[in-house]
């Protein structure tokens, strides 16, 4: 029998607001334990939540971008459970009237195009962090993350393969980054996934018993956990055993999922409307305003880069893979850089420099005007490209002044053909063997001669004119 895997995702995304969802403490990552806290986010008695305006705005923007229906009258609910990372012993979330519902996300995989339906999107608060200290055999509760705003995006069980899941997550990540509502850094936990998975005989309609996998913090882990869990369930069924509905934890080191203790599974969250937060009623004007302000997303940008700038599909894909790079590219073009040249610099030098420094585009110091100036100098024939790359390396980390650097280091391209001709003649004179080799048909020897001329001119000559002059002197 062949089996089909059925997967639904619950993705928690941390919103890029300055302050927490219900108090004015910073959301900055890190910090000493319990230093980003106040009586509200540590659940002190008598304190009350007040909703951050930006959280609502970001959640609605995300809902719109995921093609959801925005709930005009929305409320918060309390989800009650005891755990030391939750100081109020309830999480403020949305169950009955989430901010957005019924969305759709088109994805593209090697197997073709598909639409993933979004069941709902809601706002909620993050919990704190628990760290066990084996020396004192006590767990430390750090509430810095408590109250950091999240949106949870719940899909319908529309995925059939790990590839589809990854394609969806890539799309989600790209969309949210373009919107500016989240930086989606998985390693800092700002994008986290729970995977609901069941299997069924191919061609049947019913849903099998599902398990929920938590603790998935990289695309790789998600893909491997899905493959592992599908296989585990199929084997169970084939052995005549039953799949138990439970929450399973993915263990990255062991490459396996294992069941969490059943007590943690027994839950009755006793949701009820949060009395401390008045409802949210969104007007058409508010929604129209946000709709009008929605930025161009990756999909549209890729199409436009190809149509408007004539970039190849590959280039468009590379540049739009990150909203910061796309913005950088558009700024370069706006500053007069030829699109293809701008794209080449980004895909070559910029990405290379970032990768050797293990940096994210958003942390890059180099600004578009600096690179645009460099590209212009090359275009005007004032710098040759090799020298320009050296200048790039020199200014990348500080966004230093290009013109000043070129002047200070005397790097301006030598456009004096007379001088090039004199040097070339000297080089030919000094290297009779190479001249002979070249004339005997060894193309490599010509490269050597060009290199010698460039060396004499400290790399500042225009390679094209060096080529032309050498060939002329060699009698061609």
């Amino acid at each position: 029998m062949t089996w089909e895997t059925v997967i639904g995702l619950e993705t928690h995304v941390e919103l890029a607001t300055r302050t927490k969802i219900f108090c004015s403490c910073t959301t900055r990552f890190g910090g000493d334990p319990n230093t980003h806290c106040c009586p509200v986010c540590t659940g002190m008695p008598g304190t009350l939540p007040v909703l951050n305006k930006k959280v609502l705005e970001f959640a609605v923007k995300a809902g719109l971008a995921l093609n959801c229906d925005i709930t005009r009258y929305s409320k918060f609910d309390r989800k009650n459970y005891f755990y030391p990372d939750l100081p109020k012993a309830y999480q403020i979330s949305q169950l009955y009237l989430p901010i957005a519902r019924d969305g759709a996300v088109p994805i593209h995989t090697d197997a073709g195009d598909k639409t993933i339906r979004i069941h709902e999107l809601h706002m909620e608060e993050d919990a704190g962090k628990l760290v066990h200290d084996p020396w004192i055999d006590q767990t430390r509760a750090d509430y810095n993350r408590c109250g950091v705003p999240l949106i949870e995006i719940v899909t319908e069980p529309d995925f059939r393969t790990a590839g589809e899941v990854i394609a969806y997550l890539e799309k989600l990540k790209e969309t949210l980054q373009y919107l500016g509502v989240s930086d989606c850094k998985m390693q800092e936990g700002s994008l986290r996934c729970d995977v609901n998975l069941s299997v069924r005989p191919m061609g049947t309609d019913g849903l099998g018993t599902r398990t929920e996998m938590k603790n998935l913090n990289s695309f790789k882990a998600i893909a491997r956990a899905i493959d592992y869990e599908a296989k585990r369930q199929i084997e169970l069924i084939q052995e005549g055993k039953r799949v138990v509905q439970e929450t399973r934890r993915w263990d990255e080191n062991k490459d396996a999922t294992y069941a969490m203790r059943s007590k943690e599974n027994a839950q009755d969250y006793r949701y009820f409307p949060e009395p401390d937060l008045p409802p949210i009623e969104l007007s058409e004007e508010y929604l129209d305003g946000l709709r009008a302000a929605q930025p161009e997303l990756g999909e549209a940008k890729r199409a436009r880069y190809q149509a408007e700038y004539g970039l190849p599909e590959y280039d468009s894909q590379m540049i739009t893979s990150d909203s910061v790079l796309a913005r950088f590219f558009e700024d370069l073009v706006a500053l007069g850089a030829p699109p293809k040249q701008g794209a080449n610099w980004i895909m070559g030098e910029v990405l290379g420099a970032l990768s050797t420094r293990a940096m994210e585009p958003k942390d890059m110091k180099l600004t578009a005007p600096t690179l645009a100036r460099l590209i212009a100098l090359v275009g005007e024939g004032k710098l040759n490209r090799n020298t320009a790359v050296k200048v790039f390396e020199a200014v990348f980390d500080t966004d230093g002044g290009v013109d000043a650097y070129v002047k200070e280091h005397g790097l301006e391209q030598v456009n004096d053909d007379g001088l090039v001709r004199d040097i070339a003649a000297k080089v030919l004179e000094a290297n009779p063997q190479s001249v002979a080799d070249y004339k005997g048909g060894k193309e490599k020897a010509f490269g050597f001669l060009v290199g010698q001329v460039m060396r004499e001119l400290k790399g500042k000559a225009n390679p094209q004119s060096v080529n032309a002059i050498l060939k002329e002197l060699l009698g061609q």
Partner: protein, 95 residues
């Protein structure tokens, strides 16, 4: 709905409360009596009545996204039953 000791055990577990055997009997009887009394609400037909969680039409109470300095950590931790200079301490809670 009849409240029995099994139900009381269940809600006590959810509430993180423990009842001794004698106490449990008494509590069960009281809750049973109280809940039986509450069933008087069933006399009232509320079909189509929207549940009212907030009594006033107050809505959209929002704050600006502006950081206010957090509270001094020592003050926040001062009332913790088991003191530590940087965190609240609990028995092992991480798997």
């Amino acid at each position: 709905m009849n409240i029995d000791t099994e139900m009381v055990d269940y809600i006590a577990e959810l509430s993180r409360l423990e009842l001794q055997t004698g106490e449990k009997q008494a509590m069960t009887a009281q809750l049973e009596q109280i809940i039986a009394y509450m069933n008087v609400l069933n006399k009232l037909d509320t079909t189509g009545v929207e549940p009212m969680s907030h009594v006033f039409p107050v809505k959209n109470v929002l704050r600006e996204d502006e950081v206010v300095p957090s509270q001094d950590r020592a003050e926040l931790l001062a009332g913790a039953p088991v003191p530590d200079e940087e965190a609240f301490l609990v028995p092992k809670a991480v798997d």
